[in-house]
Amino acid sequence: MHVGESLEDRSRDHFFAKEGVLSESDPPGDAQDEEARLLEGCRAGDVSAFERLYELHGSRMKSVAANLLGNVADAEDAVQESFLKIYRGAAAFRGAARLSTWIYRVLVNTCYDLLRRRRRRPLEVDSEAASRREPELAAPVSDHPLRLSLEVCVKDLDPRRRAAFVLFDVEGFTHREVGDMLGVPEGTSRALLFEARRDLQRLLARRGVVSGSRA
């Protein structure tokens, strides 16, 4: 699909340049204007507003969801469901947080819902997931010898700690943003991150992983 492909490419470009734009807590005026326009568009149900939102955040949303849920098929479902929730909730969104922060909050909550559903119906979900084809992942932007071991251990983290780790350490959001996304104060975000790193250290050590090596 032409539209989808071009969006994916643009979203990917934006994803790679994310540190320059999305990690700032207070966006510049232009970004604020664009957020206001996008919010209006989302409230009106304007598809082009959602298209732009997807273009800006789609790749990063998929990455967050994939790391929270552990597989890309569920991640895509979570992103799609999040967009529907954004459409339904845009009218009630009063702008207490930035739009870009809010959509990740919606995404994280959607992922939690999916994890809960998966816990309730593990067999059903497993068979469903197995029947779906996993898309091919692109090579990581920056590889690291610990990546594979870390990937396995992240799945064993408590969901809230995992979310803090994924949003801060993996995706590079600030603690203020992570706090807004998780609905917790900034200090709690720091505490959750510390606990996540501590748990990861223990899990890696238990797997016999030493620094600078693979398991």
Binding site: G58, K62, V72, V141, H144, F165, D169, R197, V209, G212
Partner: protein, 220 residues
């Protein structure tokens, strides 16, 4: 080996970020803690490599279709929904009107409060307000004043009644005095009781009327 058994890193990690940071000096001499600390620092360094990227050309078209379906569903549902619940505002308004009327009827200081004898009733009634009580007490004072004047006129004949009719009046007045005394006793602890006030006023009225009859009888 002492270094392999060193638990300082574990302890520091349980205490918090600052305790881990303070472990640097010890780690220079302890291989175990040095390795743990190095791994600790590598976790955030390795984390960005977990970011995932893949092509999903069907995802946004799918989202757009789902959004369109959602909008269509909302559009289709709303007129039917509006029709289905069209009676709700009217019913709410009617209920509000009925409640207001009932409220007005129950709480309005109407005729009975201004003139408690106009509609005597013996059921449960709301307590008198300060203003109404003042009006009632004024009415009682007026009756008492009239009764006092009439008693002066009727007094000598009533002390020694010389006819059966005057004896009857005297007995009636004694009964009324007794009832008035009882009611005043009850009202001492319950000044705002509408029913007792009405009863007392009725007694005063009756006593006044009886005394007027006595005076007429004496004059005739």
């Amino acid at each position: 080996m002492s270094t392999s058994r060193c638990r300082r890193f574990e302890k520091a990690v349980s205490r918090g970020e600052e305790a881990v940071a303070a472990l640097e000096k010890h780690a220079a001499e302890c291989a175990n803690c040095r390795e743990s600390l190095r791994l600790w620092k590598e976790i955030p360094e390795a984390a960005p490599s977990l970011a995932k990227s893949w092509q999903s050309p069907h995802l946004f078209p799918g989202i757009a279709r789902a959004l369109a379906a959602e909008r269509a569903k909302a559009r289709d549902a709303s007129p039917a929904r509006r029709r289905r619940f069209a009676w709700v505002p009217a019913a709410a308004a009617a209920a509000l009107f009925v409640l207001s009327m009932v409220g007005l009827y129950v709480f309005k200081p109407g005729e009975s409060a201004r003139d408690p004898l106009a509609r005597p009733s013996f059921g449960k009634e709301p307590l008198l307000g300060d203003e109404t009580l003042k009006e009632v007490e004024t009415a009682e004072t007026n009756y008492l004043s009239s009764i006092e004047k009439l008693s002066v006129l009727a007094g000598p004949r009533m002390a020694n009644p010389d006819s059966a009719i005057l004896v009857g009046y005297r007995e009636k007045l004694q009964l009324l005095d007794s009832a008035i005394g009882d009611l005043r006793g009850q009202l001492e602890g319950n000044r705002f009781n509408t029913h007792l006030r009405k009863e007392l006023l009725a007694m005063y009225q009756e006593k006044k009327r009886t005394l007027e009859d006595v005076v007429k009888e004496v004059k005739s």
